[in-house]
Subunit: 348 residues, 2 copies
Amino acid sequence: MFEPTIKDIARLCGVGVSTVSRAINNHPDINPETKEKILQTIEEYGYVPNNSARNLKRSDAKAIAVLVKGMSNLFFANMIEIIEGECKKKHYSMELSYIEADEDEVDIAQRLVKEKRLRGIIFLGGMFARSEEKLKKLSVPFVFSTAGAIPENISKSLYSNIGVDDRRESKRMVDYLIGLGHRRIAILVAEAEEVQSIGRLRLEGYYDALRENGIEVNPGLVCHVSQKMIPFSMESGYLAAKKLLAGGEEFTALYAVADTLAIGAERALHEAGLNVPGDVSVSGYDGIELANYIVPSLTTVRQPIERMARETARLLFDIISGKRQHQHIVYEAELLERESTKAVDLRK
Amino acid sequence: MFEPTIKDIARLCGVGVSTVSRAINNHPDINPETKEKILQTIEEYGYVPNNSARNLKRSDAKAIAVLVKGMSNLFFANMIEIIEGECKKKHYSMELSYIEADEDEVDIAQRLVKEKRLRGIIFLGGMFARSEEKLKKLSVPFVFSTAGAIPENISKSLYSNIGVDDRRESKRMVDYLIGLGHRRIAILVAEAEEVQSIGRLRLEGYYDALRENGIEVNPGLVCHVSQKMIPFSMESGYLAAKKLLAGGEEFTALYAVADTLAIGAERALHEAGLNVPGDVSVSGYDGIELANYIVPSLTTVRQPIERMARETARLLFDIISGKRQHQHIVYEAELLERESTKAVDLRK
DNA sequence: AGCAAATCTGGTAACGTTTTCGGAAACGTT
DNA sequence: AACGTTTCCGAAAACGTTACCAGATTTGCT
């Protein structure tokens, strides 16, 4: 199959290649009539500029990459879709790549940028304990979202970060459960071993709340998702809850650090003949759409996912175009009180 | 920031650029020692070949695109992740783009292919009533998955298609409900207006089952998701079910043509004080992971999603490399009988 | 009418690779 | 020793664009 190039179009129109190039790129230095004719010919022959040649010459591509760490997460799927929409608006293309837990996201990004001459990177999830030198080597802006905490000693001007204060919001949820009278509150946590990871932060929030309320931490109520499992999957929640139940430790509330984990846990509870919220109150974290539809609807902390995703993309584009500098945005989350939690039964 | 090129590496090693190129691309015509030295220098200086230049010269890129029609679908999110994994294995990069309902996927693909010199396209969802001429113009292989039905008059050698027989599997589900004694079976359907769309096919399956069992179709039990809504979202299911309930038509079973719709519907049922499966049996379609965890777990038709996604990617790669020809694969789905359905109560 | 300025245009040199081609050196074989 | 082979290598020509520069034409102003 023959693919016309800019030369062919030029020949067809009896003009030089530079003129065709000008027509394509909306250059001002061109006669509107010539431009019209060229555009028409282009249309007629179905000419589409070769991106590789263009990128080579321009020495950068109108593209970004979205790197996702932590698979099978409804939350990220949602964000990706929104980010893709923003890319489309800016006529950027988006490359998506899921990266393994043991891979270094900054290294991968670095390579990708060099290879494809991308203009920026969005990074979703994962923990975040990078070295400053690596960040310094980055030649394009890097925006993190829904990532773990940032080590204090790294200069904030090297990257952007958008999200909520996981530790604080997690504490808010546990405070709420305590407010309902719960004292024996179990927690289902994933990735808590990774320093500064999201899971870790949410667990810290749990500790904070207990401490502040003078409740002693019962290690038997802190249940970790097996490291071999996908951290935030329903299956992980299910299995972890089963383990918790098997442990025999009593609890009146179960807080899972992700809605998906909570849903898995509810099934385990159900199988054990426990009613939610009758016997156990259950709450999650994230505020995925689903949480509102299941029966009973799930009490959760809603992250402003759409706003976060949209702003992540917009901020990146603004930094690329020089309109804004790197910044660190912390959104407020919202506690959604729903059917899965209730005040502790005083008769018990 | 200075980025070394192949010339720099060549100079640094005191060899010609072609030799460096040979080292990078594992060409046999090179002295192992020289290769070793070059590779070492590359490592040392962090050289990464410029993809644009490479693609330009090679006149094609090691990349494919995944085009998704029909947004906010858990099912697709899952498939995309699996496909991305397969791409990674083959060292292909993947471009993701969601396309609007009114856009022509083949046109978009065509443009993308010309622009980026992609080697193939995977197309997820949407209906599929393409013209043969357009398909003929395609210069790279095109694999559809989870798409609507194929018009019979289009030559099957022009594209591949992988999926299940939606009409038959849908009928299977309705047959099952009828087998449980249900006669007044409501259906929640989306996109049924689009000829040959997935929604339409599933609705046809419903009609087939009723007809075969001598049950007259009650139009009051066929409930369409509003066209303004996202077709397969939970919200759509919720709203549609509310409309159905408001219609006042009695039914003992509700079949939603997607699990997400079913989950939305269950909430509406719940709000109306109806118990599942006590008062109404509910079933879905797709077999997303979630369906197994919610309470009551959802009876559904499981599409072999992982197998489909994996095979879609593999088939595309095989066609690209000439190992296989275009083909049309129809997988068997599996009816998963779970807690949300039960035999109709004879006392009623 | 004359000249400067504005408008438009085409030629051409890059951009960083891969690949072809011919040649040099090293190696076997008679 | 003379020859063909093999092994390795470098020069240079693409690939399809964009951007710079210089030239040609038109326009605007005295």
